[in-house]
């Protein structure tokens, strides 16, 4: 392995050829993508343990479907960053638009700035740590994983939540249907400590409040299985 990063300058090459090179079996261990200028679908579908830094703001669906790779956006991200991520790490140093980490199954998404509406919508196992605030309807129908918010949360946090766990340091504008405040036990403090450390964010876990599902929307009872 070499320390020299391979550079993809989007002024002189295309998103498609860049993604193809990063998805290839012999993809460079370290890459820098320059002049992204809000381009869509950058560093999508990566499937190996490589390190990609994007030097600037990106458009929609950056680092979608990521497996194993570490992708850093040195700027803001558009709609759906790290959507459907399976593993690996995606870090946005600026703000993220709506639906960050949507439907993601695993891995770690760190947003150092703010995330807009629907952060972690339908999350299925991903860990998301946000340094700033998140917008409305975040973690809507979250099924598994952890969402940590160091700032404030917007309206309808955790609406129709299944089993995802949410930690918020600041205020919550309102809780969605079936989302309730929960006790912070030792295991939760330990979990949160670990998540903050993994994200590289310096915050005191005892300042956070935990939210989760009241499980009142679970209407299926096995006794009724015969009627289905």
């Amino acid at each position: 392995m070499t320390d020299t990063a391979t550079t993809f300058d989007l002024r002189t090459t295309t998103v498609r050829s860049t993604n193809k090179a990063l998805q290839a079996a012999g993809a460079p261990a370290r890459s820098v993508i320059t002049a992204p200028r809000g381009a869509h679908a950058l560093a999508c579908g990566l499937d190996s343990d490589i390190d990609v830094t994007i030097d600037g703001h990106v458009g929609y669906y950056c680092a979608g479907m990521n497996q194993h790779a570490t992708v850093t956006v040195a700027g803001n991200a558009g709609v759906g960053v790290a959507e459907n991520m399976m593993s690996g790490t995606v870090r946005v140093q600026g703000d993220a638009s709506q639906s960050a980490g949507a439907t993601a199954h695993g891995g770690l998404l760190v947003i150092e700035g703010n995330a807009a509406a629907r952060c972690g919508i339908s999350m299925k196992g991903v860990d998301i740590v946000v340094g700033g605030d998140i917008g409305h309807m975040s973690a809507f129908m979250g099924q598994a994983g952890r969402l940590v918010v160091c700032g404030d949360a917007g309206e309808a946090l955790g609406d129709s939540l299944y089993e995802a766990r949410i930690y918020v340091r600041g205020t919550v504008a309102s809780l969605g249907a079936d989302c309730i405040k929960k006790e912070m036990a030792a295991e939760h403090l330990a979990e949160l400590t670990e998540l903050l450390a993994a994200a590289g964010i310096d915050a005191d876990p005892t300042d956070f409040t935990r939210y989760g599902s009241a499980r009142q929307l679970y209407n299926f009872h096995v006794d009724n299985a015969a009627t289905y």
Partner: protein
């Protein structure tokens, strides 16, 4: 999808670059609506000369020379008309209302797509970038501009269906999304005597805002009332003679990004439309919050 771009200049030294900057922004939004486009420029000295009212028309039955002659004769002052096909633009040293009334009398079947003392509205079919160049947008100057690429939903791809919808003096409204209760709002407005030009849902929003402004409320209040009245998914960019405003619906699933510096305020559907603006690297970039009205005034 539709693509919105808008630029409100604070720094007068940028006025000569307005058209070039707006053209570059529009170019990035072509694939959000590649079939037709519309644009409005505030303060271009050729399209909207100072001391004159300007009117933009589609489907003018008169050749341009005849339109100018008929307006001159009716108004008693020299009127000028020129062709930016399919749009025709005319101006004369009278008030916006006088020019509007004169056009209505001379060419009652022509469709007025914009009028005022500052604004020129241009619409057409085809690739938005090609259209902008055909109109000469890159050479335009002024203090504010908005443009739109349309992905048609509730009415056909026509020049008339393009945004902005400009139905009051110096007012423009561009829309990304759709209104879901526009027919009931339209029926209410029709009962109040408002006449519509098209089947387009956005025109209902524009007529609603124009009605509020004509009734004396300010732009911010008008847009708060719009939020209370209209259902649907929308990001709106609304401009008038001295203001530039952005508002989104409660769900806010239609995209919007705002960038602001000491020299300008810009709004677009996506960041890539803003990437070439001067000083973008040090701009404050943010997404508008749901149902919050953002307004900037000309200084």
């Amino acid at each position: 999808m539709c693509g919105i771009v808008g630029l409100h200049l604070r720094d007068r030294t940028l006025y000569p670059e307005l058209g070039a900057l707006l053209s570059g922004m529009l170019d990035q939004m072509c694939d959000r609506g590649p079939d037709s486009a519309g644009m409005a420029i505030y303060g271009d000295p050729i399209w909207s000369p100072e001391g004159h009212a300007t009117i933009s028309l589609l489907e003018t039955p008169l050749p341009r020379a005849d339109l100018a002659a008929a307006l001159t004769s009716r108004l008693g002052v020299e009127a000028t008309a020129f062709d930016l096909a399919p749009t025709a633009v005319a101006h004369a040293p009278v008030t916006a209302e006088q020019l509007h009334d004169a056009v209505r009398a001379i060419a009652p079947t022509a469709r007025v797509i914009g009028f005022g003392t500052d604004v020129t509205v241009l619409k057409g079919m085809g690739n938005p970038t090609a259209l902008a160049h055909r109109f000469g947008l890159p050479n335009a100057s002024g203090w504010q501009g908005v443009a739109h690429t349309r992905m048609a939903t509730e009415s056909a791809v026509t020049a008339e269906g393009s945004h902005p919808f400009s139905v009051g003096p110096d007012q423009c409204l561009v829309h990304n999304g759709s209104f879901s209760n526009h027919m009931s709002v339209k029926h209410t407005l029709e009962r109040e005597g408002i006449v519509f030009d098209s089947e387009n849902d956005t025109e209902v929003g524009a007529r609603f805002v124009a009605g509020q402004l004509a009734g004396g409320v300010d732009l911010e209040k008008a847009l708060l009332m719009l939020n209370e009245t209209f259902d649907g998914f929308y990001t709106l960019l609304v401009s008038n003679k001295d203001s530039f405003a952005v508002v989104r619906d409660a769900i806010s699933c239609k995209p919007a990004v705002i960038a602001e510096t000491d020299r300008w305020v810009a709004m677009a559907s996506e960041y890539r439309a803003l990437a070439d603006l001067p000083g973008i690297d040090s701009a404050r970039i943010f997404e508008p919050e749901p149902e919050e009205v953002y307004v900037w005034h000309r200084q």
